[in-house]
């Protein structure tokens, strides 16, 4: 019976998606949209962990479950979806494509929640894919060229990621001999499998160099979608790695090193790229990339030194929750900002926005700072070689984030994002504020929620102010200069197909020409032959020739030897009697 809550957690969004297809139920569904994650939230908050449920008849045997880690993920994810759903309901109220958005939104939601609950590789992959592909619709929602470009890029990466993921999962499952994620974690996957998995999840996570899709997609998607994309969905990458990789038990030095290196580069490269953006949401996207760099750092460290993972892991979860809430708040805030009709409202919202921005940047005692500090502590248990570098990087990341936030704030004023024409600004403001509040209060609520997992965080130092300050100063300076940069998703498909098309056309032309000439010939030769034979009366000649040949052949044969074969080899005596029946006379 434990199956019911699980299925309802995943199923409610799916049912809503399905129900949206009928016009009659649409209004009701939209009203329900904010509550879609409620079963999942309820499950996460109320259920005893660990909890498992089997549905052997679903897909290839579905195992759903909940443990300490996934519970936390479900909570903040659910929260984000709640908020985003609320926003979406109002944001999309007069949108002509609201239905398609709703369907995609709900399906992505189902996928997101489902993957957190999945306990076996197949269902995990299934939900993961559902989420990824449904999000395509979210990214593409506006249909303007920018969105199309972004969506194309997005789907390209998604497909790539899915393939890598599938391959990795398949390999891992084969090597583990089981589909259960727990078994996968406990098994000894090959380097290849781990690499594929990192690749697959890395795409979702947006770690460089797999990040290209992320900023444009976040920039192009409507506000509520961006919020969940950035707040909830990219965490799926993190969750995936935690769920599948044998972190804490096996060391994968090369992978870890690579991941850490990528993370480090990401943190700062994203800054450099992000500050050049002209779209505030794209800037936020790059901020996400940057933040995920930090996450990658932690993961890499865990891969490098398994022993450290026990310490790193709780921090990772915390960081995920922190970033999810803060970034969600920022995205929704962007929407709220855009929805404000007049300058006073905008100023107010801007101030409200500064709160999660600073939380993200790591104002001391905020969740951002706590997270980083906790991470530093945890990393100390890891590779000694890397440690100094990591500390420096983590500290400086605060500067980077601050700079990005500065750029963001500047941009929402310079080129405010578009909002639907008729909205109720209050309704959109509300979820933003709620998320902001959640984000700010995270350091307080976390110990309650995470219980033992919260220990590293609650014991962390409050952190330093200077990186943030530095960032603010630099940011103001840099903000003077702005660059517009267009993304060039360009012509992925046509480039891929052009050579094939050309070769195919050539080959067909050649074939056609040859076929024509052969056909002409094939028509002409028998015609000439036939007519000549008729004119020359060769049939008559053939008669004579044939007799002559047979005579020659046979007479020759008898002259040479008696090679003739008797007509009847075994003659039945009855037959002879039959044939030689000569009446006596």
């Amino acid at each position: 019976m434990t199956l019911v809550p699980f299925l309802s957690a995943v199923g409610l969004p799916l049912v809503l998606a399905a129900a949206l297809i009928w016009p009659q139920t649409r209004a009701l569904v939209w009203r329900m949209m904010p509550f879609a994650p409620l079963p999942a939230l309820a499950l996460a908050l109320l259920a005893e962990v660990p909890l498992n449920a089997q549905a052997g008849w679903l897909i290839l045997g579905l195992t759903l479950g909940l443990d300490e880690v996934s519970r936390l993920f479900v909570i903040f994810t659910g929260l984000l979806w709640c908020a985003a759903g609320t926003t979406a309901r109002h944001w999309m109220r007069h949108d002509p494509r609201a239905t398609s958005f709703g369907v995609m939104f709900a399906m992505a939601q189902a996928g997101n929640l489902g993957l957190l609950l999945a306990q076996d590789a197949l269902s995990f992959y299934a939900f993961f894919a559902l989420m990824s592909f449904a999000s395509y619709g979210l990214v593409l929602h506006s249909r303007d060229p920018q969105a199309q470009g972004a969506a194309r890029l997005y789907i390209g990466f998604v497909v790539l990621g899915e393939l890598a993921l599938f391959a990795g999962l398949a390999l891992a499952a084969a090597q583990a001999g089981s589909f259960l994620l727990a078994d996968l974690r406990g098994a000894v996957p090959s380097d290849m499998a781990v690499a594929l998995l990192i690749l697959g999840f890395g795409v979702k996570l947006g770690v460089m160099p797999l990040h290209f899709w992320l900023p444009p997609a976040h920039g192009a998607a409507p506000v509520p979608a961006s919020a969940v994309l950035s707040g909830a969905m990219i965490k799926a990458g993190l969750f995936g790695m935690m769920a599948v990789l044998p972190l804490g038990s096996l060391a994968y030095g090369d992978h870890g090193t690579m991941l850490m290196a990528a993370g480090m580069v990401t943190i700062f490269a994203a800054l450099l790229l992000g500050v050049q953006q002209g779209n505030p949401k794209a800037v936020l996207g790059f901020s996400s990339v940057s933040q995920m760099g930090i996450v990658a750092l932690g993961l890499g460290a865990g891969l490098l030194v398994p022993e450290a993972w026990a310490l790193i892991m709780p921090v990772m979860v915390f960081l995920a929750a922190h970033h999810g809430l803060a970034k969600g708040a920022l995205f929704l805030g962007t929407g709220a900002f855009a929805a404000q009709g007049g300058a006073p409202g905008r100023v107010a919202v801007t101030f409200a926005l500064l709160v999660p921005a600073f939380v993200l940047a790591g104002l001391p005692a905020s969740s951002g700072a706590l997270g980083k500090e906790a991470l530093k502590t945890a990393l100390a248990a890891g590779s000694a070689v890397w440690l100094p570098w990591l500390v420096v990087v983590l500290t400086l990341s605060g500067v980077a984030t601050t700079l990005l936030m500065a750029r963001y704030v500047a941009l929402i004023w310079r080129s405010p994002p578009k909002a639907p024409e008729q909205t109720t600004p209050e309704a959109i403001l509300l979820p933003f504020l709620a998320l902001g509040a959640a984000s700010v209060s995270l350091p307080l609520t976390w110990p309650l929620l995470a219980r033992s997992l919260a220990i590293p965080v609650s014991e962390a130092a409050p952190g330093a102010l200077w990186p943030v300050l530095l960032g603010v100063v630099v940011g103001v300076g840099v903000a003077v200069h702005a660059h517009a940069q267009r993304i060039g998703p360009a012509v992925f498909l046509s480039h891929l197909t052009a050579p094939f098309r050309a070769v195919g056309a050539r080959a067909e032309a050649v074939m056609a020409a040859r076929r024509r000439s052969v056909r002409r010939l094939a028509y002409a030769i028998p015609k000439t032959l036939g007519e000549t034979a008729e004119r020359w009366r060769l049939g008559q000649t053939a008669i004579a020739l044939l007799i002559a040949v047979i005579l020659a052949v046979e007479l020759g044969a008898t002259l040479r030897a008696d090679t003739a074969i008797p007509a009847v080899q075994q003659i039945d005596p009855d037959l002879l009697d039959d044939l030689k029946l000569i009446p006596e006379f």
């Binding site: 045997g61 559902l130 249909r143 393939l163």
Partner: protein, 495 residues
């Protein structure tokens, strides 16, 4: 329960006998024709259900009739046959509904449905053939029955396509005749026996056995559209939509794929085939076909052509699964036989609806059709995503097993192949979905008048799409295709 040893025959006759009746009906007796069509189709589904139940209980059906000394016409109903029969029976019913709707006012309906029934009879016969000789018989019947369907439109293009089709498939049939004769000469029997009949002969004369393998696979490869024998398939898409649907999903290409299964499993036996060293090349050929079909599909703008090339690619999954010589891959192959059928029939029917309802025949015209025909396009999307291999859709399940099978057989490249293929699938399907759902097309630029298509056109693709979902989503449930394939694989591999 009553025991009916002639049950397989009845199943065959439901469509075989319907055919002459349908021919004889005057053109205007539409209601009666529809009644006969649907009645027979439904009856067949019921009989098949009964048959599967009996077979699952272990009843053995075996009908023989001597044609030449030692050479028998033999019908049998083993689990493998049931798999294929069930597919054809169910999809026949659905496609019949669709065809009735599709051809509501078209010409030559008597002829169409007559041959349609004949085509199904041939398919069922192929499924139940107990030896290669019988198989050959129905295989040729299938060719003949589908030819008039392919050229149903009766225009120059259709006739050209029909001619190509006929030449290809009859040549294939001829080579199959050669192979059958070869088998007859070599083994002294043409029976399908799990584990194969050629073990001794192959040991004595491996070269001849290898040659025979090449000949048989070459013959069947024509219908299974193995590269480079696939050329007829994309051309044959000029047929009316229900015919394409049936051709691609059930009848022709599947007959080829099914034949390959029979030949590898029950003529040669998987071990013998492996020992002859023939499975690896076959797998490689299947791999080439998979990639080639996908690449060609990308470049097509005509929807049905794109689907056709997709079929070329997808059907070779089955061959691949067979050739991998691993039980798990075999499960994948068998499951794909069903799953691909469901998905492809959905897509073709949806494509037919697009053409009927909106006049959309090219990918480049698909902008915004999702809004105009949401049900149809939803079905199409589901099937397409299934083709790509997204869980929990049907296509995923088979791909998963194929991948696992590849690993089990120690053929890691299969994973790469499947991934590459999925990638290419995505490349050619996703743009269609993109256009359909996320682009504002001409369709709703003006008044978004919904095209009027009857329920007979709308319902079938949706139904099959749901089946796609169910087949994937409930893959592990009892009597699901996957479960049944496991049952079969147990038989084939335990022998």
């Amino acid at each position: 329960m009553m025991d009916a040893p002639l049950l397989p025959l009845f199943i065959l006759l439901t469509s075989l006998l319907a055919s002459p009746v349908l021919f004889a009906l005057p053109e205007r007796a539409a209601r009666l024709r529809t009644a006969i069509n649907l009645g027979m189709a439904a009856l067949k589904v019921m009989l098949v259900a009964w048959l599967s139940l009996k077979v699952a209980q272990g009843v053995i059906y075996d009908l023989r009739f001597e044609v030449l000394p030692g050479l028998e016409f033999k019908l049998q109903a083993d689990p493998l046959a049931i798999l294929f029969i069930a597919l054809s029976a169910v999809l026949w019913l659905i496609t019949t509904v669709y065809s009735v709707g599709y051809l509501e006012h078209g010409p030559h309906r008597a002829r169409f449905f007559g041959f349609f029934s004949l085509c199904v009879a041939a398919t069922v016969g192929i499924a139940m053939s107990g030896n290669l000789f019988t198989f050959l018989l129905f295989y040729e019947l299938l060719t003949l029955a589908t030819y008039p369907l392919v050229i149903h439109c009766g225009n120059a293009e259709a006739l050209r396509a029909g001619r190509t089709y006929l030449i290809y498939t009859l040549a294939g049939g001829l080579v199959l005749l050669l192979g059958t004769l070869g088998l007859w000469v070599l083994a002294g029997t043409t029976d399908f026996v799990p584990g194969g009949v050629l073990t001794d002969a192959a040991a004595q004369n491996p070269l001849a056995a290898q040659l025979l393998f090449v000949v048989l696979i070459g013959a069947l490869g024509v219908k299974a559209a193995l590269f480079p024998l696939h050329a007829w398939l994309p051309i044959a898409m000029v047929a009316p939509a229900p015919v394409s649907a049936l051709l691609h999903a059930v009848a022709v290409v599947k007959a080829g794929a099914f034949g390959i299964m029979r030949v590898v499993y029950e003529v040669f036996g998987i071990e013998t085939a492996q020992a002859l060293g023939m499975t690896a090349p076959l797998a490689a050929l299947a791999g080439v076909t998979i990639i080639y079909g996908s690449l060609k599909a990308i470049t097509q703008d005509d929807i049905k052509k794109r689907l056709a090339y997709s079929t070329v690619s997808q059907v070779s999954y089955i061959t691949l699964g067979v050739a991998l010589a691993s039980p798990i891959a075999a499960v994948g192959a068998l499951a794909h036989l069903i799953h691909q059928g469901l998905m492809k029939i959905t897509m073709f029917m949806a494509a037919g609806n697009l053409a009927e309802g909106l006049g959309v025949k090219k990918v480049s015209q698909m902008d915004g059709v999702g809004r105009a025909m949401p049900g149809t396009m939803l079905a199409f999307s589901l099937a397409a995503l299934g083709m790509i291999g997204l869980p929990p859709l049907a296509g995923f399940v088979s791909k998963w097993y194929l991948a696992q099978g590849g690993l089990e057989a120690g053929q890691g490249w299969v994973i790469a192949l499947l991934l590459g293929s999925s990638l290419l699938n995505a490349v050619y399907f996703l743009p269609m979905l993109h256009r359909a759902w996320f682009r504002d097309g001409a369709a709703d630029a003006g008044a978004p008048a919904r095209p009027r298509i009857g329920w007979m056109l709308a319902a079938p693709p949706v139904t099959t799409a749901v089946l796609v979902l169910v087949a994937g989503g409930f893959a592990n449930a009892p009597f699901s295709p996957l479960e049944w394939t496991r049952f079969i694989v147990d038989i084939e591999y335990l022998e």
